[in-house]
């Protein structure tokens, strides 16, 4: 097992073009499962391909363990990668696909057979060994891809959105499977996804990427509870945090932020001017029209069963509230909202977290 570290990695596909990775530095601990989370185009897959050696970085260094692997070909890095379409060789059976990395070297045949059967058993693929990739479900294909990566016992696993094409149940199953596999192998894993639920459930740490920059690196709790900026706040969570632009005024009785139809008292001292106030939907409470921080109009009600999302309009600013059960509100209705002061997040006009 090994740690992975990216040091000031910049990647440009066209000389003079926009960098896809921008002076990216990142350390992944030995045996850690780090999730690279970001919207499409954020550079997360490129970062993964640089680590794998499929793309050379334009500048910067990549270390795996003690070694500088920046100039090494993929074969010499001892990493395994699972691709988003599973990339199983269509002309080979499942057994041959899993054995493929081993057959390239000098592993004795008997040992290959044993390892293939072992890993297939662990991933529940024993019955599928003699089938062809075309005969498998998408979930089974990803399992085979995982088995093909794991069979070599690499120091680092790179996973590029392996669950993106799966439907609900298969996704949940394989997610759990991945967690177990990580624990069992104790391998370093770097997992790319755009799905914040996957990131929250799988990752020991999450690196949120945007436009080739790391916006925040931290545990899932840190990322959720203390987003480093407005982008991370909005991106993490379903739906993301409400971030309302407003103006703060400091008076004797305390500071208030006016945003849309809301006037929110905030525990900030001596702040005047433009500000962004963030609040998670679950911390927006519905109340009587005069009991809260302002009046809003109900736009849409989405019932999820255990909870209901109520989309509100606060004087032109969209505001989402997540409330348990089925609230008695209807679109067009005017109600009030209450927000607990200690649940508020503050970002300056540029989006950087205040305090």
């Amino acid at each position: 097992m090994a740690s992975v570290s990216l040091r000031h990695v910049t990647k440009l596909f066209d000389a003079g073009g926009r960098p896809v990775l921008h002076d990216l530095s990142l350390d992944v601990g030995d045996g850690e499962l780090l999730v690279l989370l970001g919207p499409s185009g954020s550079g997360k897959t490129t970062a993964l391909r640089c680590i794998a050696g499929l793309e050379p970085p334009t500048s910067g260094e990549i270390h795996i363990g003690e070694r500088d692997v920046t100039q090494l070909p993929p074969a010499d890095r001892d990493v395994a990668m699972v691709f988003q379409p599973a990339a199983l060789y269509p002309h080979l059976r499942v057994r041959e696909n899993i054995a493929f990395p081993l057959t390239l070297g000098r592993t004795p045949r008997a040992q290959i057979t044993r390892k293939v059967i072992d890993i297939a058993d662990r991933l529940g693929l024993t019955a599928e060994l003699d089938r062809r990739p075309t005969q498998l479900s998408e979930g089974q294909r990803q399992r085979v891809a995982l088995a093909r990566a794991a069979v070599r016992e690499p120091r680092v696993f790179l996973l590029d959105e392996p669950l993106a094409h799966l439907d609900g149940t298969a996704r949940l199953e394989l997610r759990a499977e991945l967690s177990r596999l990580h624990q069992a192998l104790g391998a370093t894993m770097i997992y790319v996804t755009h799905d914040e639920v996957e990131a929250m459930t799988l990752g020991q740490r999450i690196a949120v990427l945007q436009d080739g920059h790391v916006r925040q690196l931290g545990t899932p709790v840190e990322v959720y509870e203390r987003p480093a900026d407005a982008f991370v706040a909005r991106f993490v969570g379903a739906p993301g945090m409400n971030v309302l632009a407003g103006v703060a005024t400091h008076k004797r009785r305390g500071t208030h932020v006016e945003c849309g139809s809301l006037t929110i008292p905030v525990p900030l001292r001596e702040y005047d001017g433009e500000i962004q106030v963030g609040v998670r939907p679950e911390h927006v409470l519905l109340c009587g029209i005069d009991d809260g921080v302002g009046a809003v109009e109900v736009r849409m009600v989405e019932s999820h069963g255990a909870e209901t999302l109520v989309h509100l309009d606060a004087g032109g600013l969209p505001l989402a509230a997540r409330v348990p059960g089925f609230p008695h509100v209807a679109p067009g209705e005017k109600i009030g909202v209450a927000i607990e002061a200690e649940r508020l997040h503050f970002f300056d006009a540029a989006g950087v977290r205040l305090a």
Partner: protein
């Protein structure tokens, strides 16, 4: 078909189709046998008239009179009708007076006037009238009347009657089944019975024609033998010339003794109907004519085709009656779209293919009348010809350029695939030889290969290599042809491989790289297997085209020198247009087709085992 009216309408249409298609081949058989019988009557009437002109004495008195001695004509005419074995009913007229049966009605003046005017056989009611000319072969002075018999083999002879009954029964059964919407309606037995009926009718067509020829031969043989005994004894060849006038349209040639009965003989490339004429002890003539049945092939085909219209029409009518309006409209529209391609295929692919099969089974040379059926003789002579085997060997060697070109093309394609910037220009350049006309390419290469001052030999001379006689030396010619072939093929195959490489998702290569595969392993274990469909396509089409190579050889070497570059296709061409043996050329073409079919089938079986992409 739901309402009674619809059912009735369908039953009427189908019944008419059934009866019409059953009657058509029989009508053809009846008509053609009547035709054969009329042809026989015309011919034997002419022969009889010539016989009388030959054997009747001249009129006494006026020396060198052109007219006949009437007493002699009377005797000869009666003797003719009494010849043992003579088959037709005959009457001879001098002027308009009947000679054989004195009580028979005279020839009408109109008929006689017509004969005098036309001087050719004419039909008077149901009988043939041949003009009887005077001794100088001048004026028409009388006539010979022959009444044709009813055809010896009627339209319903042999298998035709049971086949007709089977057609009516099975067809009626199928139609009633369709009307009552029975679950199991079988049109196949009806169709089979129809084909049998068509073949039986066709057999009767041939039989009647053959029979008419045989009877003419037998009757002509009688009168020729009789005429020969009445004249002075002559050498056989002189007699043959003298008697030739009796059998216009046939030949008399001196021959050795043989069976006297009419029979068929293969003479050269033709089949002739012959019978032996005995002039005296050991003095024989052979009487030869074209067999009537050889001209009936078209009628045979027509009889079978018309018969098949029945089941086809009934099933079409059933479909029209059953399908709803929308299906009918859609099907008609679909056929509307398909029709141009179907017609094109039928005219330019199917018809030549059918003609090829016909050619291969017959002995046909343009300009010669008749194409006798020879069974598998053409195949036998083609397979026994060492030139065929030499051409086959050369073709096999030539076909080997395909895998060679493919290997080179694959290497080039892999190199180009990596350097995409060079691709566009190079792609266009590579396709040029393939797009250029083969004739132009072959002519250009002939220039390059020239022994004196050709580019290749000039280059070799610079390198200190002695000039090579590329196209003139049998040892080099095939190699030279192969070089040109590879040069022409390679661009096309590179293009195919490039397309194939583009179609392989990059993820496979990436996965293999991360898994630790080096370049060679990536190619052999991932890229090449994934290129399989392209390889199969390039290989199969390449081999099929190469095995039929013609233009390149024809222009570059003409198959020479010393047949060193003779291919199957040039052999076919040479056999047909050079030697005029179209039947053998057809047989060779069919053999090539069988060979290609077998080769392609094997190739596909070997290669297509796993072609599907994930």
């Amino acid at each position: 078909m739901k309402t009674p009216q619809e059912k009735l309408r369908f039953a009427l249409v189908a019944g008419l189709l059934l009866l019409g298609s059953a009657a058509a081949p029989l009508a053809i058989a009846a008509w053609t046998s009547a035709r054969a019988e009329r042809a026989y009557a015309e011919r034997i009437a002419t022969t009889a008239a010539e016989y009388l002109a030959t054997v009747t004495s001249p009129a006494r008195g006026g020396g060198g009179s052109a007219d006949y001695d009437l007493a002699s004509l009377l005797v000869r005419a009666r003797a003719l009708s009494a010849l043992p074995g003579w088959s037709p009913a005959v009457e001879v007229y001098h002027g308009t007076a009947p000679f054989i049966a004195a009580t028979a009605p005279p020839l009408t003046p109109d008929a006689f006037a017509d004969l005098q005017r036309d001087g050719a056989v004419r039909w008077d009611g149901a009988t043939a009238l041949a003009p009887l000319r005077d001794r100088n072969d001048g004026d028409v002075v009388g006539a010979v009347r022959i009444a044709p018999r009813r055809a010896s083999r009627g339209a319903l002879a042999g298998l035709a009657l049971p086949a007709l009954l089977a057609v009516l029964w099975l067809g009626g059964w199928a139609i009633s089944g369709l009307v009552r919407a029975r679950a199991r309606v079988r049109l196949a037995p009806y169709a089979v019975a129809t084909v049998v009926l068509g073949i039986a009718a066709a057999a009767n067509v041939r039989g009647a024609a053959a029979d008419a020829t045989d009877r003419w031969l037998a009757d002509a043989q009688l009168v020729v033998e009789d005429a020969a005994t009445r004249g002075p004894a002559q050498p056989v060849d002189v007699a043959a010339r003298t008697l030739q006038r009796l059998v216009r349209g046939a030949e008399l040639v001196p021959a050795d003794s043989a069976d006297a009965a009419p029979r068929r003989e293969h003479l050269g490339r033709r089949i002739r109907a012959t019978s032996m004429v005995r002039l005296g002890p050991n003095r024989w003539l052979e009487l030869r004519t074209d067999p009537g049945e050889e001209g009936t092939t078209a009628w045979v085909a027509l009889a079978v085709a018309l018969a098949l219209c029945g089941p086809a029409g009934v099933s079409l009518a059933a479909w029209i009656a059953r399908a709803d309006a929308r299906r009918r409209r859609e099907t008609l529209t679909a056929w509307g779209f398909l029709a141009p391609a179907t017609v094109h295929l039928a005219i330019f692919s199917l018809a030549p293919a059918v003609f090829l099969v016909y050619l291969a089974l017959h002995r046909w040379t343009p300009g010669e009348s008749g194409a006798p059926f020879v069974g598998l003789d053409n195949f036998q002579s083609v397979l026994g010809d060492p030139l065929t085997w030499q051409a086959l060997g050369n073709t096999l060697v030539y076909v080997l350029h395909v895998p060679v070109a493919m290997a080179v093309a694959l290497v080039i394609a892999l190199a180009l695939h990596r350097h995409r910037s060079a691709l566009r220009v190079v792609r266009a350049l590579l396709l040029l030889p393939y797009a250029a006309s083969t004739v132009a390419v072959a002519l250009a290469w002939r220039g390059l290969f020239r022994t004196d001052g050709g580019f290749i030999n000039a280059t070799l001379a610079h390198l200190g290599v002695a000039p090579v006689d590329w196209l003139g030396d049998p040892r080099n010619a095939l190699l030279a042809v192969l070089i040109v072939a590879v040069w022409m093929q390679i661009g096309y195959q590179v293009t195919l491989f490039l397309v194939g490489l583009d179609a392989i998702p990059a993820a496979y290569g990436d996965a293999a790289r991360v898994d630790g595969a080096n370049g060679w392993q990536r190619f052999w274990r991932v890229t090449f297997p994934l290129l399989r469909p392209v390889t199969i396509f390039a290989g199969v089409t390449g081999v099929v085209l190469a095995a039929q190579v013609f233009t390149l050889i024809y222009v570059l070497t003409g198959g020479g020198p010393a047949r060193a570059t003779e291919m199957i296709a040039t052999r076919i061409y040479q056999t047909a247009w050079g030697d005029g043996r179209f039947g053998e050329a057809g047989a060779l073409a069919l053999l090539l087709w069988v060979f290609l079919f077998a080769a392609t089938w094997t190739e596909l079986r070997l290669l297509l085992r796993r072609e599907r992409h994930a």
